[in-house]
């Protein structure tokens, strides 16, 4: 049967045919509908929550009660699973759920809890039933009330336990503080409270002060203040009210109540939801409160209050007991005050306490005696104590006691007592008389105080004070102390002397009056001071002398503990003057160094430059930094480097040395310098100080001079050579041309003679004689100009010829010592030698009027030594040379010049009255040209 059929036009037919069943069915349907409605109502109206869920744990149905119970809308809840509202931390619940889903046994009843939409837990009891289709139908009953009742019961039980414990604590309590703490602890421990505290009223400020506390929220007590004054908000809370009214106060909605408003914040933080305050009484008066704080609202139920009140009452009772006990004890203690107290005191003190009778006989001494002196306490008894007093102090001690005794007054005397180890210690002995009612002295009570350390410290202090004063007064440095305003509070003699003031006069001054107030200078000093952090404050300033002048000083300031500043002042005028002199000296040296015409430098043994003048920098074009790092002798040219090092070593070895080296100029020129260096010790090191002077001008002058000399010599050589050649030419002319012509004439005359008649032949002969004379004259002229024998036969022959033909005929006795085998020499050497001999001979004849002459030619290896010595009058060589140079005579100079022209050395020795000797040494090489005449 299809739906269409049922709803279509066939319906009537069907209904008609099914009429008998239809009615039954309608009835059944109605009944079913009714029961469904009833069920639905039941479900909807049920106070229990009902839900259905499937195996996927999703809710399929929830009733309004469940929604209310858990705070959800039905639609919301249907989106959730059972797991979303169950306590995930409850292992039993999870287990049961799993089991249920696996089709296992389902417990009839289960107690667990569901989470409310707002997060709090709702304790529930559920009963589940599996439906035929596997779904679970669960009824949920909210058991909060029951749980709460159970908890309240538990609290009650706990509080009874607390009360019982409190009672025990009260009985066993030794004092109030301990009791308070115990009560608080018990309240928290047994009462399951968050926090318990006892406050006591301070009558002075009418506030409640914490006396004891316990509990996990005990920190709460730190943040709150409470008062019993109703005019303050803090006095209108439960505690203040309880304290004021003497009635317990309960506040079960602590966070809501207006009365507790001042403490809401603190309470919220501490998790406090309810509290109760119980007045504590002592002797009928409210003295404080017992405050109990719970973590859940409504904790303090009416059932609980009597118990708690009892607890507070017990506490009050205990307080009364304490008061009574205290009063009893006080009375008792007063009874025992006398000797007991005295003994306690005596034994407690570290001093020695003694008691003597009126006569001074020691009756007792405290244990301190033994401890301090190390002596047996019996030593102190009677008069034996006197035996340990220092002999020097015995009389004063006795005198002091006697005086006190006679005048009935207390006394104090300081004395030394011997210790067990034999050393003495200082004690201050103080005795007080105790009088009988009649005014007489009954006994003495006194103490001995060890003042040895004090005494010593005092001594040390006194000594050090003394020493300090002596030091200060004896100091050569000025010392003053000033306060923060600069007023001088103390000055020593040295400072007065330094500044020319009287002591009192200076004390009236302030530091500002005597210090130089040059701000810039002070600033400079301050900066200097900053530069040496950590060092004592050391300043160089100047102070004003009484006469207006300034005294340069160095000060060293120190802050004293008293707040004063103590300043040591050292007069540094001498040092400043010395420094100034040193500076002057330094400037002088610098100036001197720099004004030197040349370079000045100092270097160490390694050749590193230590000092130099500006000239060196100018000359080398190098800066101070470059020069300071320069290699030894780095400023000379590369070529002179070896010489520079040798010069350095020479200077160190010999102490002084000279050298000529070239310096490289910045423009690339090399300039010759003459160096002179000396070794000396400077700054503890062996150093060298050197000066160097530009000698390029001298060098040029020398070169010029050399050139001039060379030119002059060349000229004179040419002159002499020319002269010689001319002479030789004229001589040859005379000899060859004239001589030949005359000879030819003579021979022609001779040829004609034969053709002349006999009587005329004498004319021809006379003519020939005339020609012969002419020939002789021409020959002599020629020989005088230049002896041809020198050219023809060489030096030896020429010397012999000259002696024979010219000198001997002039009346001179001539001795010639010339080796026959001398051979021919270079023509210019022969000429030079001959001319020198000729010159010497002419001088001997003309100026020396010599009678004899010795000519000696001595050939040696490679040289010929010529010596011409006469016995003439001699002459002053120097004067003659000067005359010769002046142009008076050329003989001497000509001789020298000829010698020099052939590379020879010429010297002349002459002493007036002792003849003259001429020496000449010439290098000798055989002349091949002239070799043909060598007849060896």
């Amino acid at each position: 049967m299809s739906k269409t059929a049922r709803t279509g036009s066939d319906r009537a037919a069907i209904q008609a045919t099914a009429a008998p069943y239809y009615e039954v069915r309608v009835f059944a349907e109605r009944a079913l509908e009714e029961s469904r409605r009833q069920y639905q109502e039941l479900v909807n109206e049920s106070r229990d929550g009902i839900y259905q869920r499937d195996e996927s744990r999703r809710f399929l149905f929830v009733n309004p009660s469940l929604c209310r119970m858990l705070g959800y809308e039905a639609g919301e809840l249907l989106q959730l699973t059972i797991d979303d509202i169950c306590d995930p931390d409850d292992p039993d619940a999870a287990q049961v759920r799993n089991k249920a889903d696996e089709g296992g046994e389902i417990p009839a009843l289960m107690n667990w809890r569901f989470r409310h939409r707002d997060g709090h837990w709702v304790p529930v009891e559920t009963s589940a039933r599996r439906l035929e289709d596997g779904r679970l139908l669960v009824t949920v009953r909210d058991v909060s009330e029951r749980v709460r009742a159970q908890e309240a019961l538990a609290h009650q039980r706990d509080l009874y336990a607390a009360l019982s414990e409190t009672g025990k604590a009260i009985i066993g309590a030794e004092n109030r503080e301990r009791l308070f703490e115990d009560v608080c602890r018990i309240a928290v421990q047994y009462g399951k409270l968050r926090f318990a505290a006892i406050y006591l009223i301070d009558p002075a400020d009418r506030r409640l002060h914490l006396a004891a506390r316990c509990g996990e929220a005990a920190g709460y007590a730190d943040g709150v203040t409470m008062s019993i004054d109703a005019s303050h908000p803090e006095g209108r809370g439960p505690t203040g009210t309880a304290a004021r009214s003497g009635e317990p106060q309960v506040c079960n909605d602590y966070l809501e109540s207006a009365a507790t408003a001042p403490w809401h914040d603190c309470a919220r933080r501490a998790g406090i939801e309810a509290m109760a305050a119980f007045p504590l009484r002592e002797a009928g008066e409210v003295v404080g409160t017992l405050n109990l704080y719970a973590g859940e609202p409504g904790y303090f139920t009416d059932e609980l209050l009597p118990t708690l009140r009892d607890m507070a009452g017990g506490l009050s009772h205990a307080l009364n007991n304490f008061t009574r006990e205290a009063e009893r004890r006080k009375a008792e203690a007063a009874l025992h005050l006398g000797e007991e107290r005295f003994r306690t005191l005596v034994e407690a003190t570290s001093n020695i306490v003694w008691l003597t009778d009126a006569r001074g006989v020691t009756v007792s001494a405290s244990k301190g005696f033994e401890e301090v002196t190390g002596l047996d306490s019996s030593t102190a008894l009677g008069f034996r104590w006197l035996s340990v007093v220092h002999p020097d102090d015995r009389q004063p001690v006795i005198a002091a006691w006697r005086y006190a005794s006679e005048n009935r007054v207390a006394y104090t005397v300081e004395s030394r007592s011997r210790m067990q180890d034999g050393s003495y210690r200082w004690f201050s002995v103080h005795g007080e008389p105790i009088f009988e009612p009649d005014g007489s002295i009954r006994e003495w009570i006194g103490t001995c105080t060890d003042i040895n350390d004090q005494k010593l410290a005092h001594g040390v202090l006194r000594d050090s004070r003394q020493q300090y004063l002596e030091l200060v007064e004896g100091s050569r440095d000025g010392i003053y102390q000033r306060d923060a305003d600069g007023r001088l509070l103390f000055v020593n003699t040295a400072l007065c002397r330094m500044l020319g003031y009287e002591h009192d006069e200076l004390l009236r001054k302030s530091i500002h009056e005597i210090a130089d107030l040059d701000a810039a200078r002070i600033e400079e000093n301050r900066q200097q001071q900053d530069g040496r952090a950590g060092s004592p404050t050391l300043l160089a300033i100047r102070l004003k002398h009484r006469n207006g002048s300034y005294v340069p000083v160095e000060t060293n300031a120190k802050q004293l503990a008293s707040g004063r500043t103590q300043v040591m002042v050292r007069d540094i005028s001498a040092r400043v003057a010395a420094e100034r002199r040193l500076e002057d000296e330094r400037k002088f040296i610098m100036h001197s160094m720099n004004s030197l015409p040349g370079i000045f430098y100092v270097h160490d043994a390694q050749g590193r430059l230590m000092r130099w003048n500006e000239r060196l920098e100018q000359v080398t074009g190098l800066g101070a930094d470059q020069l300071g790092l320069m290699e030894p002798a780095g400023f000379v040219t590369e070529a002179c480097r070896d010489e520079a090092l040798a010069f350095l070593h020479r200077t160190f070895a010999q102490g002084e040395a000279d050298a000529e080296m070239d310096l490289k100029m910045p423009d690339g020129r090399d300039v010759p310098y003459h160096f002179n260096a000396r070794r000396f010790t400077w700054q503890g090191r062996v150093c060298v100080a050197g000066v160097a002077i530009d000698i390029s001008e001298r060098r040029e002058a020398e070169a010029r001079e050399r050139r001039y000399i060379h030119e002059a010599r060349e000229l004179s050589r040419r002159l002499l050579t020319a002269q010689e050649q001319e002479r030789r030419g004229i001589a040859r002319e005379l000899h060859d041309e004239v001589g030949s012509a005359l000879t030819a004439l003579q021979m022609q005359i001779k040829g004609m003679e034969d053709k002349l008649p006999e009587d005329s032949r004498h004319l021809s002969q006379e003519s020939r004689e005339i020609v012969r004379v002419l020939l002789k004259q021409a020959r002599d002229m020629s020989l005088d100009l230049r002896p041809s024998v020198l050219d023809d036969l060489g030096l030896t022959a020429a010397v012999n010829w000259y002696s024979r033909e010219r000198l001997r005929p002039a009346g001179l006795q001539v001795e010639v010592d010339a080796p026959a085998g001398l051979g021919r020499l270079a023509a210019d050497v022969e000429s030079a030698c001959f001319r020198v001999i000729q010159g010497a001979a002419i001088n001997a004849l003309r100026h020396g009027h010599a009678r004899s002459l010795s000519i000696r030619l001595a050939p040696t290896a490679g040289a010929l030594i010529l010596t011409v010595q006469d016995d003439g009058e001699g002459f002053d060589v120097t004067a003659a040379r000067a005359r010769a140079t002046g142009g008076a005579s050329l003989g001497l100079l000509a001789m020298e010049e000829r010698a020099r022209l052939v590379g020879g050395e010429f010297s002349i020795e002459s002493t007036p009255g002792a003849g003259t000797t001429v020496h000449m040494l010439v290098p000798m090489h055989g002349d091949p040209e002239a070799g043909d005449l060598d007849e060896d």
């Binding site: 060859d736 001589g739 030949s740 040829g751 002789k776 024998v789 043909d932």
Partner: protein, 158 residues
């Protein structure tokens, strides 16, 4: 008699040559204007007498004399000069000259000397004492260089 005259002065040479030509005993006279020319002419002409001046620029009379005297056909050599003196005479003798004549006295001495030489027997000339020879080979080689190759050949023959 054959005579060679060596002098560097042409005027004097001409006069002396002319004068000697007039002397009947003299068969031939040959003038030479210098030492070197003289030596070469002497080798060609083989004179009996060589009359040489001492001072000559190319080769002086002493050298000429010594070389001539080294020849196998060594002639008489008369050395002449303007100068006189023992040094000259010693030198002339040293190099082997047969006589030393001073030019100013030539007009008087030359002819007698020549005549004296002519009077000497020819064989005497052959047996005339040999002039002192140079022994140093260096000197000889030197001479050869100075005198030319013909002379050096002669030197070897000598």
């Amino acid at each position: 008699m054959r005579v060679l005259i060596i002098d560097d002065q042409p005027g004097f040479l001409a006069t002396l040559t002319g004068m000697l030509m007039l002397i009947p005993e003299i068969e031939a006279v040959c003038p030479a204007l210098g030492g070197l020319e003289g030596l070469s002419l002497a080798a060609e002409m083989r004179p009996d007498v060589v009359l040489t001046d001492l001072s000559m620029p190319d080769l002086n009379g002493a050298a000429v004399t010594r070389r001539l005297k080294e020849r196998a056909w060594a002639p008489y050599v008369l050395m002449m000069s303007f100068n006189d003196g023992p040094e000259y005479r010693e030198m002339a003798h040293g190099v082997g000259a047969d006589a030393y004549l001073v030019k100013s006295d030539l007009d008087q001495q030359l002819v007698p000397v020549l005549r004296r030489l002519r009077a000497e027997p020819a064989g005497e000339k052959e047996h005339a004492p040999a002039p002192p020879r140079r022994t140093g080979t260096l000197a000889r080689r030197h001479d050869a260089v100075r005198t030319g190759k013909t002379d050096s050949k002669d030197t070897r023959q000598a």
